[in-house]
Amino acid sequence: MPTHPFTAPSAACTALTEVGRSTSRHAFAWLAIANAVGLLMALLLAWPGLNDLLAPLTYGRWTSVHLNGQLYGWCTVPLVGVVLRVFLDARHPHAARHGNIGLAAWSLALAAGSLSWLAGHSSGKLFMEWTGWMRPALPAAMLVLWTILAAHAWWRRPLRASAALTGRTLLAGSALAAILVVPVVFFWAAGSTVYPAVNPDSGGATGAALLGSTLGILTLYGALPVLLGRPRRAAGGWARAYGPRLYVAALVASWLLYAGLRHGAVSHHRLAPQAALGTLLVWIPLTWLHFEAYVWPMAVRRWLISAFICWTLLVVDGWLTFLPGFSEALKFTHGLVAHAHLAMAGFITAVNHVVLRCLSLSTGPDEAPIRAAGGAVRSMATPGFALWHAGLVLHFIALIGLFTVERSDASALFLGSAEVEGWLWLRAASGGVLLAASVIWLRNAFRP
């Protein structure tokens, strides 16, 4: 009996569940590490004398670890788990081990990278700081991962004997080919001579780049329900029936729009990029409709709601942030950090919880008792959920507070004031809350 290339036979779900749990452990470990470093950074800002005790490991060196730990650890590892789930042949006796090797290679590369950044070896390119002997580290981990994926795709090949599955086989092959491009492009992009187009009036990303990266996330996250094997909801309205189709159609249209934009150093004062980014507003209802068309475990619905709230705020304030006047006020300030915080700690974290819960569920993706399993996970995660959101809001408030101070008087930030002190300590406190939540999740991930 041939199987869907993107789902595994439920009889062999144990291995996939094991890999899903390993994914959770790696992801939460990186979240905890990155948050611990983030807390340290907040303390270093509130109490600069602490730098003297830690020298030469001062604020700047830790920042690289924090940013990259969040990006390549917490944000990316769950997606690594997703591709493993998609490609691993669960019937293989060593499937779980292979998955763990892929995850370990990723974490090892990131750990080595973190050490190198702490040692002062950085390229100077934000989020692309892999340089020198560490430049090939993450691409090498990607190649290890790809080798595992390719091997398992090959082992599953005989099952796809029927003509009906030829298209899916081709799809899997195409996906593998696309994934293989990633390490090559990544290595190239990490070079010191490669730099993206710059908005001449802000020194930041251009409208086209912002649109492209957002569409990339929408493409990736839009595929999640399928990649995670979520079943479609029974018919119950026009939106549920057509939500995913609308999503795909809008995605195609948006990518065409992106392709039609000028991709050079275009200012945010030009109308075209402003309008193009404005089209992202339609994705607020579209994403809701799309995700609503699938069945989700009860435990992840709260995270889905959190993700949608953050997504809505992000799209709106992201667009405003780009517009002339707002951009000038926010660029280089804590206001923009608040936007990034909402994206990473809010939206991405919520989506990651959805992904990790779905990867870790012991039941097959098409089976019924999903609510029961979800309920168990939900009860386990409640304190973390509450703590995290409290920390998220507090941190956001602290950042906005700092933004208002520096907007009115830049010297207050450079030279300090009681008000700045207060906001910085609030920021540190909220960092502690976020760390506490991530430690709870990490501990839960290691529970049987």
Partner: protein, 631 residues
Amino acid sequence: MIDPTQEDSPRLSAVACAVVAITATYVYFLLFAEFALVELALPLAEGRLRWLLGALGVGGVTGSLLAARSFRFERYTRSVANGFRACGVAAVVALLAKTWFMMMVAALSVGLSLGWLTVILVSGLRGVLGGRRLGLWAGLGTGSAYAFCNLPLVFNASPANQTVVAAVAAGIGALAANGLSLTAAPRAERADFQPPIPACWIVAFLALVWLDSAAFYIIQHTEPLRSATWQGAWVLGGNAVTHLVAAVIAGIAIDRGFNARVVGLAFAFLTGAALWLGDGTARTTGVEVLYTAGVSLYSTALVAYPAQGGRPRLSAALFAVAGWGGSALGIGLAQDLHHIPVWFCGAAGLAFAVALGWRQRHLRRLGPAALGVLLCGGLLDSEIRASDDAVIAFGRQTYIAEGCLHCHSQYLRPRVESDVTRWGPAPSLAAQLQGRPPLLGNRRLGPDLSQVGNRRSAEWNRLHLIDPRSVSPGSRMPSYAHLFADGDRRGDALVAYLASLGRDSLASRVAHAAAWVPQASAHASAGEERDLTRGRSRFAQLCAPCHGDAGRGDGALTARLAQRPPDLVQRPWRHLPDGLNAPERELHLARLIKFGLPGTAMAGREYLPDEDVVSLARFVAALQAAGTPRS
């Protein structure tokens, strides 16, 4: 033909000849190949010294491999003698070389002959000396060589004379080779020499040679360390004794089967010395003892281990990878980083621990990974930082390494007036993207630095980097005093880099400052008294560290400045034109306060609100007015 089962006690003359041969080989290596050859080549090098070292290394590896291929016990004596002769000839060629080409030929010849000699000599030593006291004799030969090279007369000789001494040593070695008669089984059949254990030893020795070479280079090129380690007859004599004693003790311990403990102790000593040197400070007391003892311990083991095995291929692999490879990597690391990073010691320690823990299977599996870490470190540290202005390039690298771009942008938005006024002028987009990579940054926890060279002097930057809050009270910037420690050139390079940013835009900056006027609202402050209070408060915070609380030029930082800050209470003020009326004086003062005095330690306070700048100007003016009668 030697009977492998035969184990006669070696003749005393053979022992003496073997010890002399070991001593001569080490003297040649230490005095000439490692030191005098480079000094001889320096006048011809013109920045190509790495090529010379490369030729030496390539020759060494090639010679080692050729020796392993052609080694025959039957021809041992002749092969060793020929090796010494070749070494002697190569030394003479180096001495006579007058062109860079000839020097390269000499380096290649030195590498080839020394690589050949070491592998041949060591691979047959067990057949000459037997297995019982092989370590002792190896230690005696090694220690004697180190002791000889530390004799003040030899150590302080000119490179040419040292080359002559090395050539003579090679001649003596050739003579001694004739007395090397084989009396014992040439090779030991022990577990230590069964795969994969030799590979583990190679990794361990690689870590040791790597550390030693890096530490040697740093000591040699850091004046306080060099003088503390190798200056004065007493220091050199102490080194000689330490070397000899440590080597002999190591040899005895090796004969009792403590090979791993000896190299373990050597690693501990070398790591201790490396970490001591690691932060670039000149706290040297004790470093020389750790370093010399560690070197002698592992150098003895480096002879004794392959000699015990009597396997030419093992000897060749050991000397090629650990000896020549480790030396090149160590020198490369020291040349590029000028210190030995803690992480490197950690990686070396891991590699070392894994290599010597081969009996535990799980540790053995980690061996390749640990070796990978070390080799990766080598690749990193072999990067050549090429630049038209190496100091500025190194400073930029330091800026990146310390993560300065996480708090400081280097991008001025041309349409944002506050950007241009505070940190300007704004260069073109192309100019702002010139760096590889551009360091635009995305935060401003501190000021933009793209043009900092036109508004902050090197003196101010240096003070600020060392003690930020003394010159900029309330700043959240970390202190980077550790970058300015003795022997660490990162701090000065960073200052040079900052000075280079915007150095071409000074005229534009001055013109902008001369045209600046405070916002009208700044003049309309509510009342003179409140204005003075505000100015006094800002003066105490921002100006008093240099100008003193009363403006007398006696602030806490005065002693650290090249030029004493002016007494603001006294007339005349050098930077204020005469004949100005009160509003004009106030405007000039406000400009000085906001933009500073380029080229001096007087930094502007560009980020202050105009109200604060005007209040400060009024306060300073009042300060002088109050002081006028006294002057």
